[in-house]
């Protein structure tokens, strides 16, 4: 892990406009071989457009992108042999069975029969859906469909996998299976680029790039990104979060207050050292509270901090 990492995907100055909106704006980043790289941002940040360009199904306006040493912008068809792309919408045929879907994609990639059988047995086992081989894809639950999509995308042993919001709307158990398969792949040297609108999911990635309005904000490990916040987050649970917020609103050193359902997140410098002060203050105002404790900042905290709390951003 310490040697200079090789890059499976190299993106430089990638740009794409629709009508007069710059969906992707001079984007540059590198994804190292054998890592899970997260493309994180809200809807309209340019994630899907970026993935489509990297998958070779949408021409770029400007910039270059190399995927597995193939220039996708100029030679998309060759790149397609190396990679696997899983679009956001379920890309499977609902009137085909699990087996038929797998066979279809295996044939398109020229996977031999024996290899297909070995590999699909393994993948279906990992996905926990061996007993559903003869079921129509349309009759599977959302989580199962998503796992089947992944199985189909992996059947030809791609070196690079592009996933567009792979676990949106998936139940937590299936989501866990899904990530388990991804980690297993990565341990075999596969490179994964996944997009997500959910910052909690970003924390599962090795490195993340935060996208906002088509531009790259940061690109680093989740841990380093959190360290970058330079502040700590205190969580105060209380049955009256709104009174709590009113009380703390004008306290010095607090950079933001975020209301949660049953408390408040306080973004503040030197968090732990200020806990006694806050406790005293709340007791003085007789505002009920349970605990005040330091919590790890989320990437969302970072995002909000970075984008600033100005006018609502344009999607």
């Amino acid at each position: 892990m310490q040697e200079k990492p090789q890059s499976a995907i190299i993106v430089e100055g990638l740009t794409k406009s629709f009508a007069n909106v710059r969906a992707v704006d001079r984007l540059s980043f590198e994804v190292h071989t054998g890592e899970i790289f997260g493309l994180v941002g809200p809807d309209g940040a340019g994630k899907t457009t970026t993935l489509r360009m990297l998958a070779g199904i949408m021409p770029a306006d400007e910039g270059t992108a190399r995927v597995a040493d193939v220039d996708v912008v100029h030679d998309p068809e060759n790149a397609k042999r190396q990679l696997s792309y899983m679009p956001q919408r379920f890309g499977l045929y609902e009137d085909l069975t699990v087996n038929e879907n797998i066979r279809f994609y295996a044939d398109l990639f020229g996977v031999s029969r024996t290899e297909r059988e070995d590999r699909s047995a393994l993948l279906l086992q990992a996905a926990g859906m061996r007993e559903f081989r003869l079921r129509l894809a349309g009759k599977l639950s959302g989580g199962m469909k998503q796992k089947l999509s992944l199985v189909c995308a992996l059947i030809h042993r791609p070196k690079i996998i592009l996933l567009d919001e792979p676990t949106t709307g998936v139940d937590p158990i299936s989501r866990r299976d899904f990530w388990r398969i991804l980690y297993e792949l990565v341990s075999q040297g596969v490179t994964i680029l996944a997009s997500t609108a959910y910052l909690d999911e970003a924390e599962r990635c090795h490195r993340v790039a935060l996208l906002h309005q088509g531009r790259l904000f940061f690109c680093d490990t989740p841990k380093n990104l959190k360290a970058r916040l330079g502040k700590s987050v205190l969580s105060i649970t209380s049955s009256e979060p709104r009174r709590l917020r009113a009380e703390l609103e004008n306290v010095v050193g607090i950079s933001s207050l975020v209301l949660t359902g049953d408390g408040l997140h306080v973004v503040v410098e030197n968090g732990v050292s200020r806990i006694p002060e806050f406790e005293a203050r709340l007791k003085g105002a007789s505002i009920p509270f349970d605990t005040i404790q330091q919590v790890t900042p989320t990437i969302e905290d970072l995002f909000v901090h970075a984008v600033g709390s100005g006018a609502p951003s344009h999607a």
Binding site: I57, M58, L83, F90, G91, Y93, D95, E100, L108, F109
Partner: protein, 377 residues
């Protein structure tokens, strides 16, 4: 071009067709229904049309005339009424297709050898039927008129001589003038338009709509493999339906089949290429199943129905429409079908229709191939 990938796409398409009961109905049952529908339902022959009569004369002569109407297989004198309003009512409520009014001085005028006019009231809501009725009625009256004259001459002691000239009409190719023989071969063109253009127009659009296309184009499959793979099953089905329809036409409707069966298959295959490619092209550009199906019906089914000469002879169309018909591929196919079935025209003599059809097949197939790209946006 990889055969495995072509086969993968084709196999998947077959599953789509056979797992969708609606698709199966269209593919297997609709052709039979269409042939039967047109074979039985669209009857251009008129027989036993109901006629009401208002005989104001009531003489022997007027009865003779009416007997002639009754004797004709085209008319059925249903009722004799006693006033004019009853006659108009019968036309209004549709009980009669034609009303005949015999004037009160019919026999008197005949006796005086003065011209006499019979009034025929015809339901003109269907102008085709009306025209035919008028023609038949005139023929009946003419026949009566000449007999009356002959008899008058005979009564005068004139020698009865056969007419100097007469026209003897013989209808070739469809001797009995059965409209089913005329129509049923043309149904093949309709069936192919539905199978070929309508069904295929859905296949690409469906993939766009369901979002499967995005995944499909990210694989190494080539546009040609997608196109051929998707069209091959419909081609097979189309050929199967041609054979079924032809057999029904020949053995059920007793339509004469005088040409060669291989020629029928060969030209049908060519027409299939045209409609399949058209359907594919429409599907590629429409991107939604609803739009695709509407466009394909408008550009293939309707012209095949209205402008191909299948039901309505091209020579009888308004001039403007006649100019359009060379652009309707079904026109050539219908023409070939009629020639093969009814005339038995040798294949070599079909070239005036074959050449344009082949040209269409080539152009549309190229258009379809060029239209599809593995790109979004």
């Amino acid at each position: 071009m990889s055969f495995t990938r072509f086969l993968a796409v084709a196999r998947k398409e077959v599953v789509h067709i056979f797992r969708d009961s609606r698709g199966l109905i269209i593919v297997l049952i609709m052709p039979v229904v269409l042939v039967l529908l047109f074979g039985y339902g669209v009857n251009l022959d008129f027989k036993g049309l109901p006629v009401y009569v208002y005989d104001r004369d009531g003489s022997q002569q007027s009865q003779d005339l009416l007997k002639r109407f009754q004797a004709s297989e085209y008319f059925d004198v249903v009722r004799v009424v006693n006033d004019y309003p009853a006659l108009t009512r019968s036309l209004d409520d549709g009980h009669a297709k034609m009303g005949i009014v015999i004037p009160w001085d019919f026999s008197q005028r005949l006796g005086d050898r003065r011209p006499v006019q019979i009034q025929a009231l015809v339901d003109g809501t269907d102008d085709n039927t009306a025209n035919v009725l008028i023609g038949y009625a005139q023929a009946v009256v003419q026949g009566y008129s000449s007999d009356v004259q002959l008899e008058w001459l005979r009564n005068r002691g004139q020698l009865l001589r056969p007419a100097l000239l007469s026209v003897e009409t013989r209808t070739w190719y469809n001797e009995d003038l059965e409209s089913s023989a005329f129509i049923v071969p043309g149904v093949l063109a309709l069936v192919m338009s539905v199978i070929g253009a309508f069904l295929t127009s859905l296949t690409i659009a469906r993939e766009w709509e369901r979002g499967t296309m995005e995944q499909l184009i990210s694989t190494p499959v080539t546009p040609l493999e997608i196109m051929l793979g998707k069209l091959a099953p419909y081609f097979a089905i189309g050929m199967f339906d041609v054979i079924v329809c032809a057999l029904i036409a020949i053995y059920w409707f007793q339509v004469p089949f005088r040409g060669s069966f291989p020629t029928l298959l060969f030209t049908s295959a060519m027409f299939l290429v045209v409609v399949l490619s058209l359907g594919f092209y429409v599907s590629v550009i429409a991107k939604s199943q609803l739009t695709a199906s509407q466009i394909s019906l408008i550009i293939t089914f309707l012209p095949a129905f209205l402008l191909s000469g299948f039901l309505f002879p091209i020579e009888q169309m308004p001039v403007v429409l006649q100019w359009i018909t060379p652009l309707v591929p079904a026109r050539y196919y219908v023409s070939i079908l009629k020639k093969i079935f009814l005339k038995g025209t040798p294949t070599a003599l079909l070239y005036p229709d074959l050449v344009p059809l082949a040209l269409f097949a080539l152009v549309v197939a190229l258009l379809a191939t060029a239209s599809f790209h593995k790109r979004l946006g």
